[in-house]
């Protein structure tokens, strides 16, 4: 038997074992540091620096000092930083190269701290280009165009007014017709001419004919005078017609002019109808920036860890088919209360310092092989006694035991005292409010389905901006004390379709409606007044002249009658005059005789 035993071999084995242990004791720290920095940088997409790593033996594990993880999006800023972390590691799995961290304690975790040097990796990470800013800008412009009221002068200067066109047509019509009337009136005898006609006619027909020749001479003169009467009558008729035409035309233009302001008003109202439709998305504008920032932060970290949440090929028969897997073999796991995935963080307790207070983050069962572990990862963020929040709870469950994975976040915020919150629109700020928030977000198969309800109470708003939009917004918000905001997000979790709805929209719409109706009425009143002034400017100047035209028409009628009367005058011929005179004499004599006989008869009785 002795010849089969080699005692020096045992010594050699012990020496080898001791050397390996010593090497491990000295090299473990730097190896862990290097592993954390290289793997961490790959995951974070930015530099990960570990100040120091020391090995502890009771309990077996590591202590990390001053760890910084740069923000890939802002290289001069740390995404997170902590002063120290202690990890207790299970020894047995280490023999298989498996890292099972029993307890992890992180102190002094801070977010968004400044860096002295850039944390960007040499290979620059892709920056997400988003058009959200442009979209928000265009949305804001849309609201501005709806809510911003142009002045009445601006509208009247901008619009082609019917009133002005009708006024110009009226003026042109008056001028044209007035010229025609004036031209026609030039041939009409004036009153002096009519008087002269009267005198001349009296001279011809009123005086006694002395002879036949006298008769003939007067007859010739009267005929000539009648011809002039006929010409003058024609001129008067023409003038009357010109006046009638002018009156008809001008009356039509005047009718158009008088109806033009009403038409202009209707046209302007249809164009500049102010409604509160644009206020429907005001909530998104008000809270979109802030909520978007929170969502971006959450999605940034989720995207970072999401690739590591998928179950590995352990237990995955499809992956087994790969040649590499076939050659290297794989671990087959069996039911156990203590499974060993490649990496497992059983319990973590992290205290984080935020500007508003401290957060306590606890995590259980963090692994990329949940199918092996058989339990989902569970992260609980609890903020108690924060400066502005009475209670904050975020319960995150990452369940990737089966495909597709199912990740959920349940958020509860109680008595959040919002102060001086920038609402991202028109420099508007919510100066104070007490908010309660409940939210649930689920990501399954890359699809996000999230919903959050927030109740805002005792809300007060202010804006330093002097723009119309800001003033109108603050005026509308001033009447709102309580409101609810409902946010929902769906679709691909990398570019979710975010929607906001709330009774703030309804309240804002109502408030905007009231304000806009009031503004509309004010605008319309100003427009109406200015249009009436324009109408008055056109019709006022011509009122007297139109009256003159009417009076002229009456005067011409009188002249026509006079001319007609004068034209009907006749001259008796000389024989008829002699006969009439003889008959008048005989009749006078007969009347005298009859009177005498009557007087005699009276005296007899």
């Amino acid at each position: 038997m002795k010849q089969w035993i080699r005692w020096s071999g045992l010594a050699a084995f012990i020496v080898i074992a001791v050397l390996l242990t010593v090497f491990f004791a000295f090299a473990a720290g730097p190896l862990v540091k290097w592993s954390l920095e290289s793997a961490g940088s790959e995951i974070a997409g930015a530099r990960v620096d570990v100040g120091d790593v020391s090995l502890t033996f009771s309990p077996f594990g590591f202590t990390l000092q001053q760890v910084t993880v740069a923000d890939a999006r802002k290289p001069m800023q740390n995404a997170l930083e902590f002063s120290s972390a202690t990890a207790a590691v299970d020894i047995a799995p280490l023999f298989l190269g498996k890292a099972i961290i029993r307890d992890l304690s992180v102190d002094g975790l801070q977010f968004g701290t400044a860096r002295q040097t850039s944390g960007a990796l040499e290979k620059k990470a892709k920056t997400d280009s988003t058009d959200s800013a442009a979209e928000e800008s265009s949305l804001q412009d849309k609201v501005l165009s709806v809510a911003e009221l142009p002045s009445a002068d601006e509208i009247l200067a901008r619009e082609n007014l019917q009133t002005e066109a009708a006024g110009a047509a009226f003026q042109q019509s008056y001028k044209t017709n007035r010229a025609a009337v004036d031209a026609a009136l030039e041939g009409v005898p004036d009153n002096d001419a009519l008087a002269a006609y009267q005198a001349e006619l009296q001279a011809l027909t009123g005086e006694k004919l002395t002879s036949v020749d006298d008769f003939k001479e007067r007859k010739a003169k009267l005929d000539a005078l009648k011809k002039r009467f006929a010409a003058d009558k024609a001129a008067v008729a023409a003038a009357k017609q010109a006046i009638a035409d002018a009156r008809t035309d001008i009356a039509a233009r005047l009718t158009d002019l008088r109806s033009a302001p009403a038409e202009d008003m209707a046209s302007i109202r249809s164009k500049y109808q102010l409604n509160a439709g644009g206020a429907a998305n005001v909530t998104a504008l008000l809270f979109g920036d802030q909520a978007g920032e929170w969502a971006r932060q959450a999605l940034y970290w989720y995207e970072k860890i999401q690739p590591y949440l998928s179950s590995s090929a352990d237990g995955d028969s499809a992956a087994l088919a790969s040649e590499e897997r076939l050659r290297d073999g794989r671990f087959v796991h069996f039911p156990s209360a203590d499974p060993w995935p490649e990496f497992l963080l059983r319990n973590a307790r992290i205290s984080a310092t935020l500007p508003g207070g401290k957060l306590l983050i606890t995590a259980q069962d963090i692994t990329h092989q949940q199918a092996v572990l058989g339990r989902p990862a569970h992260i609980l963020v609890n903020g108690s006694g924060l400066q502005q929040v009475e209670e904050l709870t975020a319960d995150i469950v990452l369940d990737h035991r089966s495909s597709p994975g199912n990740d959920s976040l349940t958020l509860t915020v109680k008595d959040w005292q919002v102060q001086d919150m920038n609402l991202g629109l028109a420099d508007t700020r919510m100066t104070s409010s007490l908010v309660q928030v409940q939210g649930l977000a689920v990501v399954s198969g890359g699809k996000l389905n999230a919903k959050a309800d927030a109740q805002f109470g005792a809300a007060a708003f202010a804006s330093k901006s002097k723009t119309t939009l800001a003033q109108e917004l603050v005026a509308a918000l001033a009447s709102i004390d309580r409101f609810d905001v409902n946010a929902s997000a769906g679709g691909d979790f990398r570019s979710p379709d975010v929607r906001f709805g709330s009774d703030l929209d309804r309240q804002l719409s109502a408030a905007f409606s009231r304000r806009l109706n009031q503004k509309q009425a004010e605008l319309e009143a100003r427009l109406q007044k200015q249009l009436q002034e324009k109408l008055q400017a056109y019709t006022g100047d011509y009122a007297d002249e139109l009256q003159q035209l009417n009076e002229l028409d009456g005067s011409l009628s009188d002249k026509a009658d006079a001319l007609q009367e004068m034209a009907s005058a006749k001259l008796e011929d000389y024989e008829t005059q002699q006969k009439r005179e003889a008959e008048e004499k005989a009749k006078a004599k007969e009347d005298a005789l009859k009177q005498k006989a009557k007087d005699k008869l009276k005296s007899l009785f």
Binding site: L96, G329, R330, F331, V332, H333, P335, S336, W340
Partner: protein, 168 residues
């Protein structure tokens, strides 16, 4: 590597018991067919060091069988997979899985189990065959080879001098 081969030849030609060399071959097969850093390989190393097993033969055989393993690994992994997923063995594996020792032994790794099973199955036959071949080599081949002209030429080479230095 040359010195290792020289040592192997010296061992084959020496008075070392054929069983010591044959055991080295058999143990080397297990090491070669399974992942190097395994608990059972540490135990094999301990055995190789403690027992008077020819180290040179062991190391050369590990290298030679590792080449063989490059071809056989897929089959070994498949064998391990079929054993680990065999419904009839589930209770056994499950009960072993509850023990840290067995898990450190990586019994539930398909290549470890498959390679170990092949290595263990081949252990005794390889041991026996190696012993027989070593004896045959010493009795017949060694003398015949020594008389060959090629051997005479080789004896004048650097390799032979190296071999001699180990032999002395």
């Amino acid at each position: 590597m040359l010195s290792m081969l020289a040592k192997l030849l010296k061992a084959l030609n020496s008075e070392s018991a054929p069983g010591q060399i044959a055991l080295a071959f058999s143990l080397a097969l297990i090491v070669a067919l399974t992942p190097m850093f395994s608990l059972h390989n540490a135990l094999i190393l301990l055995l190789v060091l403690i027992l008077r097993i020819n180290l040179s033969a062991f190391l050369v055989a590990v290298a030679a069988f590792s080449l063989l393993a490059w071809f056989t690994d897929p089959y070994a992994a498949r064998l391990g997979e079929s054993l680990l997923t065999n419904p009839g063995l589930q209770d056994t594996w499950t009960s072993l899985y509850q023990s840290d020792f067995w898990r450190i032994a990586a019994f539930n790794h398909s290549l470890v189990l498959g390679g170990l099973v092949i290595g263990l199955l081949a252990f005794v036959p390889l041991f026996m065959l190696s012993r027989v071949l070593i004896r045959l080599y010493r009795e017949r081949v060694l003398n015949w080879v020594s008389r060959l002209k090629v051997t005479q030429v080789l004896k004048a080479s650097k390799f032979y001098n190296l071999y001699k230095s180990f032999a002395e």
